[in-house]
Symmetry: C2
Amino acid sequence: MKVLTKNTDYAIRALLALAAKKGCFISAKSIATEHDIPYQFLRRLLQEMIRHNLIVSKEGVQGGFMMEKDPDEITVTELIEIFQGKVQVSECMFRKQICGNRARCVLRHEIMRIESVVQSEFEKVTIGKLLRDLESANQVTQ
Amino acid sequence: MKVLTKNTDYAIRALLALAAKKGCFISAKSIATEHDIPYQFLRRLLQEMIRHNLIVSKEGVQGGFMMEKDPDEITVTELIEIFQGKVQVSECMFRKQICGNRARCVLRHEIMRIESVVQSEFEKVTIGKLLRDLESANQVTQ
DNA sequence: TTTAATTGATACCAATATAGTATCAGTTAA
DNA sequence: TTAACTGATACTATATTGGTATCAATTAAA
Ligand code: FES
Ligand code: FES
């Protein structure tokens, strides 16, 4: 069971690259080569993130992509939702036969509780936090 | 993003059916019809659960499947691992370029922390617990 | 003003995972 | 002897994921 797919994985890495150079326009090509992400795949992800107002773009020579939203406000939960759809444990376990009362269903409550725990854990992890972790890790090893 | 696939969903339901009639052999056919699970699909899941010593079977007429392991010892985590593979957030985010030091990688720590949170949440949910929830829910509604 | 570097948009393809079906041999209670 | 069962395994269909290709539009710079 994979929690993060390539979409999300690559998107996080691209955002880290942009966050590290906030205010500058960085081309998709340079991000792709520097971070070992398939170019056309990355392009699609970047366009999707524009639609969600995480980043902005500039066309033409010297163009590229730039961080728009505050990195500390971009959570992994948000990225998962964009690229993998909303986290849901199960559409609705135990339909029909077993579970007659959807509203009061104890199982459903159990499931929803877990859903919210998972989500809140991923919400604690923001691009901003990851970037700081990354930078301090690099200092140690250099 | 779906956390539980049909495999796991059906397996849980089948186990609940068996746990509710502990000590008896129940045929795959009756479980399938009563709980609206595709018969051949269910058969495969049951065989897989035999291999993992969750249940046992008896061949021939009046045969079927019976709970083997204590329902309170069967966690949703275990079922996810059987049917969807071990929970892993990402194979290894930020390989190569960014992350030179696998052992000390802060990002990796962050990811592993979340992994363990997710796992421990699902470990709290056992077949035994679900069954009791289910039974008390049924009492209320009847 | 031409050109090369760029994004926008979109269609396509390949690989893998998920969901479901079919078949036939072997076992066993009735 | 037979019908109700499981064991084993192969097959198919569909969806998701991962990746590639193409071409038009834009723009800084030569
Ligand atoms: S599990 Fe869906 S309503 Fe109870
Ligand atoms: S993310 Fe894999 S070692 Fe750092």
